[in-house]
């Protein structure tokens, strides 16, 4: 019985704090993206001649943990398959945050564009159930500062 109460408290905490954190994070992401909208990012491998300048590697990485509630829902989803929507927003946040951190670094260098942008994802916990369920996203690219 105590196990069940403990579990429900964890689930409730996970839901409340997870949702609060997610909403706050999305607000911050949207605001910062608007701010950095004029810093251009492309996946093109070579810098076109019209944009050439001083090049430097910039990168941004972020690690975001899953909350208890989302982890439980995703576990249930494992039984029947389908879209793991509780993980979708987690990865979306991680991707956008990594891009933003990369752009912030590029802006600090005075760059006007980033080329050859790549995203990489790593699961921190892998298959180990005992560690935290967290995801890392790294965004990196070549920032070009006009001469």
């Amino acid at each position: 019985m105590y196990d069940l109460i403990f579990f429900l408290v964890l689930l409730g905490c996970g839901y409340v704090f997870g949702q609060l954190a997610e909403k706050r994070h999305f607000r911050s992401i949207i605001a910062r993206e608007a701010e950095l909208q004029d810093l251009l990012c492309f996946s093109e491998r070579t810098v076109p001649a019209a944009y050439s300048g001083d090049a430097a590697l910039v990168c941004g990485s972020v690690v975001i943990s899953i909350d208890y509630f989302k982890r439980f829902v995703a576990g249930l989803r494992n039984f029947i398959g389908g879209r793991v929507s509780s993980y979708e927003s987690l990865l979306e946040r991680a991707r956008r945050e990594a891009m933003l951190r990369m752009k912030e670094e590029a802006r600090a260098r005075g760059a006007s564009s980033v080329w050859n942008v790549r995203l990489e994802t790593a699961s921190i916990s892998k298959d180990n159930d005992q560690t935290i369920g967290a995801v890392e996203v790294v965004a990196y690219g070549t920032a070009v500062t006009p001469r």
């Binding site: 839901y15 019209a50 944009y51 029947i80 929507s85």
Partner: protein
């Protein structure tokens, strides 16, 4: 410069629009419904299959179970009561169509509980609390015949088999440890008294009435126990037998109906209980 631009990306294109609580509700509800159906089916199937377990095997199941009233009582007064119960049960047994390998072991408990119960292996326990409420041997015979009918119709093993199937299914899903399983197996003798269905009770009643009729030639006092239960004020503590034996008014009515259809011949009266069966 105009060849390259970053257009703003619309919000929400990478996320399913469903609310997390809605998904949670659907998943929990759907999976529980499937599990419940599966476990119920398994329980029903187990209940059918377990009837094929030989009675000797059923007896062996209870050998390792530690229940107080299953042990031999050294008290001579208790032994006398136990022998009387055993003799009465054997007399009743001659009037039941028993399979050749089926036998009964009657036990007496000095406890004041108003109850009698049957469990695995033909073990039947009668509590002193029950004996004190009964006006005659006929009334006791009805209760005994009822419990014996449960055993003959294999109700205890069916209940245990169902419980075992459910326990096995749930523990294999939830990964309950060995300890919980052993604890449950240890308690199953007690569990079996808890889960006879109303239909099983009715079947046992019907067979008990036939048996008492064949043994005594009439069913006087057959409803005595239920009438006693019905006459108790509601505020009193509910007897344990209530939990498994609902709707006693309907049962009294059925017994009286049977009694009217099989009236006692002149001179047939209820036999009193021997004085040594009373606690006082």
């Amino acid at each position: 410069m105009s060849d390259y631009e970053n257009r703003p990306v619309p919000e929400g294109i990478n996320i399913s629009p469903s609310h997390p609580l809605k998904e949670f509700g659907l998943l929990v509800g759907g999976i529980s419904a499937v599990l419940l159906t599966g476990v119920l089916l398994l329980a029903l199937l187990a209940g059918h299959l377990v009837r094929y377990v030989p009675f000797a095997q059923e007896k062996a199941l209870l050998s390792g179970v530690d229940i107080g009233w299953l042990k031999d009582d050294q008290n001579t007064a208790h032994q006398q009561k136990q022998r009387y119960l055993q003799a009465l049960a054997e007399r009743l047994a001659t009037n039941m169509q028993l399979p050749p390998d089926m036998s009964f072991s009657l036990h007496y408990s000095p406890d004041a509980t108003v109850n009698a119960m049957a469990t695995l292996g033909g073990h039947i326990v009668v509590y002193q609390g029950l004996l004190d409420t009964l006006p005659s041997e006929n009334a006791l015979a009805m209760v005994l015949a009822h419990e014996m009918a449960h055993v003959r119709q294999r109700h205890p093993i069916v209940a245990v088999g169902r419980g075992f199937a459910v326990m096995l299914a749930l523990s294999s899903l939830a990964g309950v440890g060995d300890g919980a399983m052993q604890q449950w197996v240890g308690n199953m003798g007690m569990l079996s008294m808890l889960s006879f269905s109303r239909a099983q009770e009715e079947d046992a009643d019907a067979e008990a009435l036939q048996t008492v009729q064949r043994t005594y030639g009439h069913v006087g006092d057959a409803a005595a126990f239920f009438e006693y239960i019905a006459s108790r004020p509601q505020s009193l503590e509910t007897p344990a037998i209530f939990n498994t034996h609902p709707d006693h008014a309907a049962r009294i009515a059925r017994i009286q109906q049977f009694a009217q259809a099989h009236p006692a011949a002149a001179g047939q009266t209820s036999q009193p209980l021997p004085p040594f069966m009373q606690s006082r």
